[in-house]
Amino acid sequence: MKKGLISVLSSVISILVGLLFGLLLLIIVNPAQAFPKFGEMLTAGVSSAPKFAKVLYQAAPLIMTGLSVAFAFKTGLFNIGASGQYTVGAFCALACGIIFQMPWWVCLLASVVAGAVWGFFPGLFKSLFNVNEVITSIMFNWIGMMAVNLLCMNLLKGGLNIMLPTAWVSSPIKDRTAALSYANPNAMIPKMGLDKLFNSNFMNISIFIAIIVAVIMWVILNRTTFGYELKACGFNKNASIYAGINAKRNIVLSMVIAGALAGLGGGIYYLAGTAEYTIQKVLLSMGFNGISVALLATSNPIGTIFSALFISYIQVGGESLQPVFAKEMIDIIIAVIIYLSAFALLTKTILSKYIRLDKSNVNAEPAPVVAAPKPAEPAKSAESEGEQA
């Protein structure tokens, strides 16, 4: 598949330019430290087993939020609401574990359901009222985050705030949830000895869960009639309706699945038992990073595995920039990469000039070029845009 090669190459070029830009910025800010720190950043992720464990640990939820955004993209929807779905999923997983003392897999299911519900509303509003899903999702991000805060502070059991550490141990901490290690160790995702292997508490099976889900998503999108329908809706809603596909139902389903994926991401991150949910004033960035993951992977579910690993890798590297440089340098690099990937089409066109696409067909037409004016009616190509609205 030469087409796949070109996609990968154009992503790699974006990444290289982004890194170069980052280096340049480091040089401007502090020339003396720029090169050593940049090198440290690039190698931090593989510098030790625990560091690598951290890369995998952060990559797992990133894969999920990335899949969430990518899946919606395939149906022509922009799920900017992954952050809210992720937060709600995280809370429900924790609530399930802390309040109801459920085992980890039930908690994960709870996160899936919660995320799905949070994706359902934007999907429903889009399909019934044609309200732009971007705006709805943004609203639901904030509503979700605040609702979770509200619930964290108000769920009582025996007069104590059950979600907070004070209900379990004597602790002055009031702005984060109780740690699973004492509240319900059963709700922690199994480590299966991986923690010993990597010598890191961060390591558990979540990365494998994420990879399996990514593969399942790839199969759904590329091998099933359901995926065929979703993609048809995304590319051309009118044609899918004409073909008897229930486009409205598919929009809702697509957002529900996207929400479920992001919700699961929240579940696997917080059920690792290494981080507690902190009462937030800003939206969690994991959901927004999912957008980067999806874009870098050109919405290919298998691609999200690699792009999530990459982004997680340089984020771990970013920590080693501190305190000389702000770790937000990494966000700048990622932003530049995404900005460049926005002209993926341009890069691809340039690349495909150098890499010839194979022409295997016998009855080939004279040079049909993608994105060129339609040969039969060249003069109308400028007008046809208006007609396709």
């Binding site: 051309n236 073909a243 008897g244």
Partner: protein, 518 residues
């Protein structure tokens, strides 16, 4: 002063893979109506876009009054007093008529609009040329005929004296066409020169002084209308005698396949109904044609029939099943196939591959899926068969992205897909739009083959030649109603024209409402 006001000499314009204009010369005299004749895809629109500054030619020169000029954009064209009424109107729907007319040539003081002045000038022009418009109406609320008058006023407002009309009659009723011809003649009396792009021979014979003919991007010659005939022009246009006859076996009528009763569809644009109380039947073994001028409810009727839209009243029965409220998929399963009017909007998922498009109506059938998993090998095999049998040409065969295919081959793919479903009822809406003559013949043969195989065909067509040659029965639609039923062997184009224009109605007396629309 040169005899010619505009000369386009040896113009060549290439697009990737095609020479749209190959060494074409066109000379426009002062005060003449000059027709530019050619089939779809002959290069007429490209040539005019070159003249209007939308495209730059690879070779050739343009002269105004004998002096060579460069036209790089529409502003240059406008400065040379060249104006154009585009085939698809270039009007901003939510703007008023006045705003549309002044757009790009706004009278202003320090950038502030002087609308009162503009209004006065527009009203004067409108009165002088009998181009009646309401300056404060929004474009989306006015009729197509009035929209065209707005386009003409746009040219007059800019004091253009070289006027290009690109297929101006396609959307007009016969009366409106007559009025337009009259307006054109008035313009030439004032010394304005007109370029009239069309593929309709009658109109050329009626209004033009001279005619330049293009075929497949090449220049075929320029003739004086006085010295030529329709037949000769037609030969120049297509390169051979066109046979408008279609071979058909003797008809064997079967049972009623489609029964439409009192169907009414509300309009999306205005409070009136787009389709009003339409009733008819289509039987097995016949082709019924729904004829009419564009925008008389055919599209909305087909949407209701195929399930793309809801109807407010009436009942549709197919093969004895009530499908009034049936889903699109259920209609498809009952044996309805639909070649849609707009192949890019409905017919194809342009970013899907050809093979994915070929199974668009049947990917869910057991042949192509098991437990919800698509059988890719079966899809490939099926696509390769359809491509072979229907000679669908594309760069990479089944895996070609539909967007990269030519319009004709895209249409072939749709027709192949819909007919291979072996439908009991084939609804074909303008199935030959944008195709060349050879492809048109191919599609007509396929429609007739369906009929001969004892299937029912409902053809919706705007082309009178198609209407007269393909069907067994013609129903004429005007303003959402069926106003007449004809046997193509026993009627004439002229008679059909009267019904299509609303001047006659078989089912009730019509007051003479000529000009009521105008």
């Amino acid at each position: 002063m040169s005899e010619y006001v505009i000369e386009m000499l040896n113009i060549t314009k290439e697009f990737p893979g095609i020479k749209a204009n190959d060494n074409i010369t066109l000379q426009l005299k002062h005060g003449e109506v000059h027709a530019l004749l050619g089939e779809n895809g002959a290069g007429k629109s490209t040539l005019m876009s070159v003249l209007f500054g939308l495209y730059q030619p690879e070779a050739g020169v343009i002269k105004k009054d004998g002096k060579e000029v460069k036209i790089n954009n529409p502003n240059d064209a406008n400065a040379l007093h060249i104006g154009m009424v585009h085939q698809h109107f270039k009007l901003v729907e939510i703007f008023t008529v006045l705003d549309n007319i002044i757009l790009g040539a706004e009278p202003n003081k320090l950038g502030f609009l002087k609308k009162a002045e503009a209004r006065k000038k527009v009203l004067e022009l409108s009165e002088k040329y009998g181009l009646q418009v309401d300056p404060d109406a929004k474009i989306e609320d006015i009729s197509v005929g009035m929209q065209q008058r707005v386009e003409i006023l746009k040219m007059l407002y800019r004091d253009n004296d070289i006027l290009i009309f690109d297929e101006p009659t396609a959307v007009l009723t016969p009366q409106e066409i007559d009025e337009l011809m009259e307006i054109m003649r008035n313009f030439t009396k004032e010394g304005k020169s007109i370029l009239f792009i069309t593929h309709k021979l009658n109109e050329i014979m009626a209004v033009a002084d001279r005619c330049t003919v293009l075929r497949k991007g090449k220049y075929m010659g320029t003739v004086n209308i006085k010295d030529t005939t329709k037949e000769e022009l037609s030969r120049m246009m297509v390169g051979r005698d066109v046979k408008f006859e279609v071979d058909k076996k003797p008809q064997k009528l079967g049972d009623v396949v489609l029964d439409v009763q009192h169907v009414t569809v509300p309009s999306k644009l205005h409070s009136n109904n787009a389709v009003k109380d339409v009733s008819f039947q289509v039987r097995a073994g016949e082709i019924v044609c729904l004829a009419g001028i564009e925008g008389n409810g055919q599209t909305q009727f087909v949407y209701a029939l195929t399930g793309l839209d809801k109807m407010s009243h009436g009942k549709i029965t197919m093969l004895g099943h009530d499908i009034t409220k049936a889903k699109i998929r259920e209609r498809s399963k009952l044996g309805m196939s639909h070649i849609p009017e707009d192949r890019h909007k409905h017919g194809l998922v342009l970013d899907f591959s050809l093979e994915q498009n070929l199974v668009l109506q049947r990917y869910w059938q057991p042949q192509f899926q098991k437990y919800g998993f698509i059988k890719n090998k079966e899809v490939r095999k099926y696509a390769e068969r359809l491509i072979r049998e229907n000679d669908i040409r594309s760069g990479q065969g089944p895996i070609t992205v539909a967007r990269s295919m030519s319009g004709g081959n895209q249409q072939k793919a749709i027709v192949a897909r819909e007919i291979d479903k072996n439908p009991e009822l084939l609804v074909a809406v303008q199935p030959t739009r944008g195709l060349d003559v050879g492809a048109i013949e191919g599609v007509h043969k396929q429609l007739v083959a369906q009929r001969d195989a004892g299937k029912a065909v409902l053809l919706v067509s705007l082309e009178l030649e198609e209407v007269m040659s393909v069907p067994d029965r013609i129903l004429v639609m005007y303003e959402g109603e069926i106003v007449g039923e004809f046997d193509p062997k026993k009627t004439t184009v002229q008679e059909l024209g009267l019904y299509m224009a609303g001047a006659k109605n078989m089912y009730r007396d019509v007051e003479q409402k000529g000009g009521a629309e105008a």
